[in-house]
């Protein structure tokens, strides 16, 4: 029986050879935080980490992942939602519908692991995920906040003026 190492656990699964990692995670292992959006690695809703690297699980056959490779999904990013990105996401009320946000957070976590203080250009290059609700500016702000970069209004890209 094939086996995957997911979120620190070695798990057996049953699936046809061509089954993408996404559908093994969702349908065999019950990890539905990783989402289906396009099936062709375009939208990033299915982003997980394989040995720390961001991977679009919808286009990667599960059989191509070795049992020794470490897969991390949104459920395994932290035990209790305490990853700095998750905390920043909550603090800035980033999600709207939320469907793409697991993939966004996983892409951002891989970025921060690689570049602890990413520039705006780094963020643009690394976060190519699609969000139809339009949370991009808050995603950027949360990444900057989680990376300890001083929230300047220009960097936050969010400025509000309330008049009444």
């Amino acid at each position: 029986m094939p086996r995957l190492n997911v979120n620190g656990k070695s798990l057996d699964y049953e699936a046809d050879a061509d089954t993408p990692l996404l559908w093994v995670l969702r349908e065999q292992l019950g990890l539905t935080g990783t989402k289906y959006g396009c099936g062709i690695a375009q939208c990033g809703a299915c982003t997980v980490h394989v040995d720390g690297a961001p991977v679009r699980a919808c286009a990667l056959p599960a059989a191509a992942v070795q049992p020794t490779q470490k897969i991390t999904t949104i459920e395994g990013l932290s035990a209790d939602g305490s990853h700095p990105l998750q905390k920043a996401w909550v603090a800035l009320d980033v999600p709207q519908c939320g469907y793409c946000q697991s993939g966004m957070i996983m892409a951002a976590a891989a970025l921060l692991a690689d570049k602890p203080k990413p520039s705006d250009a780094d963020i643009d290059a690394a976060i190519t995920n699609i969000c139809r609700c339009g949370t991009y500016n808050r995603v950027r702000a949360a990444i900057r906040q989680a990376s300890g970069q001083a929230p300047r209004s220009a960097a936050l890209d969010i400025v509000h003026v309330v008049r009444s």
Partner: protein, 729 residues
């Protein structure tokens, strides 16, 4: 495999269903005397002081769940930290004489159409809780005070919590008179409170329809004839029934084929392997290019339905010193919600003593419409059906008026009695079977006098009517009133903000075979482009400043003008914009009124020598009357620009051989992080009315950017989307 552990919060019905128990919905008043008394339809107070607020509208990211809870909690006077929410079911609403009112969540109506009765629900519950305490203390209720769910009687020093008196309060008759607070006295509503539904969206715990799993559930994939109106002629089911996990292959509604399997991936791949013989029907050769000729002919055709008319625009044009004219066009677009259409249905056959029953779990913007679709597909009365609303992975109008996916799920489940079946559309199916933004063209002609002043305007819209496609019974004398969004003469919903002496806005309805839908922003999107870009054209043709020309035309429209002035002032209109990275930056303006709110935008763009567009900043203002949660309004404004600019820059569904050509996000690009401008929101509620916020600002994004592009390049973009129209070799 484990099934989900679902929390009760926001999830009535599912927990009971998942445990395999009989669906009770939530406790009615009679059943509620025990653990969690229902004070009234909107408010449940638990003995441990936790408060559950019922939300009838659907949360799809727009924040209505939090905003509506704030309005109830404001009047209830409870402790916000102990508030949670839940959805009543459409079946319960029906059974209780629609006590929760309208479930429809579209047209930016969530808050603006229910603020009155939800606040009264909160206020009535507070009055009953206070009365219960006063009765116990044998003091007049008027002497009691309430703060954060604690009732006190200052004269005697007594105090108690809502939870302690809830059971007694639930037995009281509701008050006849329920006065509401003046919004200026709000302490919870109107505040920048954090959303109630964020944490689970950061951990993967939030369950969407696509994630649902019921015991014994099977999964279905479906393909409907890609040519709208086509039918299934045949297929070789035996070829895929041998595949592992495949349980059933069936025709759905005569126009689609579904494969049911143990997993969705197996169902989907089996469907991909199935050769289907289609009867493509009468539209097999239809194309967007052919239909463009129909639209073009409509621009000058007789018999158009007038939407806004005063004076004599045609006479003004005939006698004008100068006529400025232009033709614009706006394409079909797909909503492209991140979560594709899906529904889980369970058909339970009748037995001796129990009637047949059909239940559906689905993300929907309108639970009642989903229930109606369920009942119609099941062939059962609605009382034998139920719909459980699941959190939506985007709605944008696709999941509101038409529930085609629910119908399909029910028809499939009916063939597998007793087995829940989850139907999930592939992205390709979602792109091919949309409810598309209507396609239109518009011809605008302005009559100018010798001074260059606008004496007349004829705006002819030619094209598709959403109402004719979805609610044809609402077409009166060939007229679709929704076509004129943002162009109406008065009214609180969507009115033109210009005083033009001779005005004619009319519509030549031309409907293609492509099914239309209400697409976030609806007809305001293209109407604002048409009018606001054309006003800019007039300004340039008459060498006037676009802001000053607008202001001149806006006499009698102070609220339209106030939002425009606000963005112009903040953006620095009239002063040159600072260069960015050595490139000159140019500005464009737009304003409109829609979904009850006044909105304006000023965009700043640069265009490189090679024709690459950068949108640097958009300053947006909205006057929505009352602002229930400014932070969520700002999030809606930011997001609306992604939706509006995705449409303006890339959004286009084209028809070839009767079918939509775009298959997935590779052929239907949308805006991503690297194109996102800085957004500055000005929320300026002027009071006295309630406007929506989910949609209006979408409509000003595109015209503000297009006008800025003209300022930068001298090129007028009249055919949407922009695509590569600015590119230079």
């Amino acid at each position: 495999m484990d099934t989900f552990e679902l929390s009760r919060r926001g999830f009535i019905g599912s927990a009971a269903a998942l445990s395999g128990g009989f669906m009770l919905g939530f406790p009615t008043r009679a059943a509620a005397q025990g653990a969690a008394p229902e004070i009234n339809a909107w408010v449940v107070v638990q003995p441990d002081e936790r408060v559950i607020i019922r939300i009838a509208r659907s949360e799809m990211g727009q924040g209505t769940l939090t905003g509506l809870a704030q309005l109830v909690a404001e009047e209830l006077g409870c402790d916000w930290a102990r508030v949670s929410t839940e959805y009543p079911t459409p079946g319960q609403n029906l059974a209780r004489n629609r006590v929760w009112g309208n479930f429809s969540t579209g047209g930016s109506r969530g808050i603006r159409e229910s603020h009155d009765y939800v606040r009264k629900g909160g206020a009535a519950a507070r009055m009953m809780l206070v009365q219960a305490a006063a009765d116990a203390w044998k003091v007049p209720a008027a002497e009691c005070r309430v703060a954060a769910g604690v009732i006190t009687h200052p004269a005697s020093g007594r105090r108690t919590g809502y939870g302690q008196v809830a059971a007694a309060a639930a037995k009281l008759a509701p008050p006849a008179e329920v006065p509401l607070k003046d919004p200026k006295d709000w302490t919870l509503a109107g505040k920048r409170l954090a959303r109630l539904d964020t944490v689970d969206k950061t951990t993967g715990a939030q369950v969407y329809g696509a994630d649902l799993k019921l015991p014994g559930m099977l999964n279905a994939a479906i393909r409907k004839c890609p040519v709208f109106g086509g039918k299934v002629r045949g297929y070789d089911a035996a070829a895929v029934l041998k595949r592992p996990g495949v349980k059933k292959v069936l025709t759905v509604d005569g126009n689609a084929v579904a494969v049911v399997a143990d997993t969705w991936w197996r169902a989907k791949t089996a469907l991909d392997a199935l050769a289907i013989d289609w009867d493509l029907g009468e539209h097999a050769t239809a194309s967007s290019t052919a239909f463009a000729q129909v639209l073009k002919a409509g621009l000058d055709a007789d018999g158009a339905a007038p939407g806004n008319r005063h004076g004599d625009a045609k006479a003004a044009l005939a006698g004008a010193a100068r006529v400025v004219s232009a033709v614009y066009g706006y394409p079909h677009q797909n909503h492209a919600t991140m979560e594709t259409m899906n529904a889980t249905a369970k058909w339970t056959a009748a037995t001796a003593g129990t009637a047949a029953r059909c239940e559906v779990w689905t993300p929907t913007q309108n639970g009642e419409a989903a229930l109606a679709a369920t009942a119609a597909a099941a062939g059962l009365p609605p009382s034998q059906c139920e719909v459980y609303k699941i959190h939506l992975g985007g709605g944008f109008g696709r999941r509101g008026a038409v529930h085609d996916w629910v119908r399909q799920a029910v028809l499939i489940a009916k063939e597998l009695p007793g087995t829940p079946v989850k139907l999930l559309w592939s992205r390709e199916e979602d792109m091919a079977q949309g409810a598309y933004h209507p396609v239109t063209m518009c011809k605008l002609q302005a009559a100018l006098d010798a001074n260059g002043d606008v004496q007349g305007l004829h705006m002819r819209i030619s094209g598709q009517s959403i109402v004719a496609g979805i609610f044809p019974q609402n077409i009166r004398d060939g007229r679709d009133p929704v076509v004129f969004q943002g162009l109406n003469d008065g009214g609180g919903e969507a009115m033109i903000g210009y005083a033009i002496p001779n005005l004619l806005i009319d519509h030549a309805m031309r409907n293609p075979h492509v099914p239309p839908g209400f697409w976030r922003g609806v007809n305001l999107n293209q109407n604002a482009i048409y009018l606001e870009c054309f006003i800019d054209e007039i300004a340039h043709a008459t060498r006037q400043d676009p802001l000053l020309l607008r202001r001149k035309l806006m006499t009698g429209f102070p609220k339209h003008r106030a939002v425009l002035d606000a963005v112009a002032e903040r953006a620095g209109w009239g002063r040159p914009a600072p260069d960015v990275a050595g490139q000159k930056v140019f500005r464009g303006l737009a304003q409109t009124h829609g979904f009850g709110s006044y909105v304006a935008a000023c965009a700043e763009v640069s265009v490189s020598p090679r024709g690459e567009l950068t949108v640097h900043r958009i300053v947006a203002a909205t006057d929505c009357g009352h602002a229930v949660n400014p932070q969520q309004i700002e999030a809606q404004i930011e997001g609306s620009f992604v939706y509006g600019l995705s449409a303006a820059l890339y959004g286009e569904c084209t028809v070839k051989d009767g079918a939509i050509e775009q298959k997935n996000f590779d052929g239907y690009p949308v805006m991503r992080m690297d194109r996102m401008p800085k957004v500055e929101s000005i929320v300026m509620p002027s009071g006295g009315f309630w406007g929506g916020v989910g949609e209006p600002t979408i409509a000003v994004a595109a015209p503000a950017v297009l006008n800025a592009i003209f300022a930068a390049t001298g090129k007028r973009i009249r055919e949407l989307p922009l695509k590569n129209q600015l590119q230079r070799a």
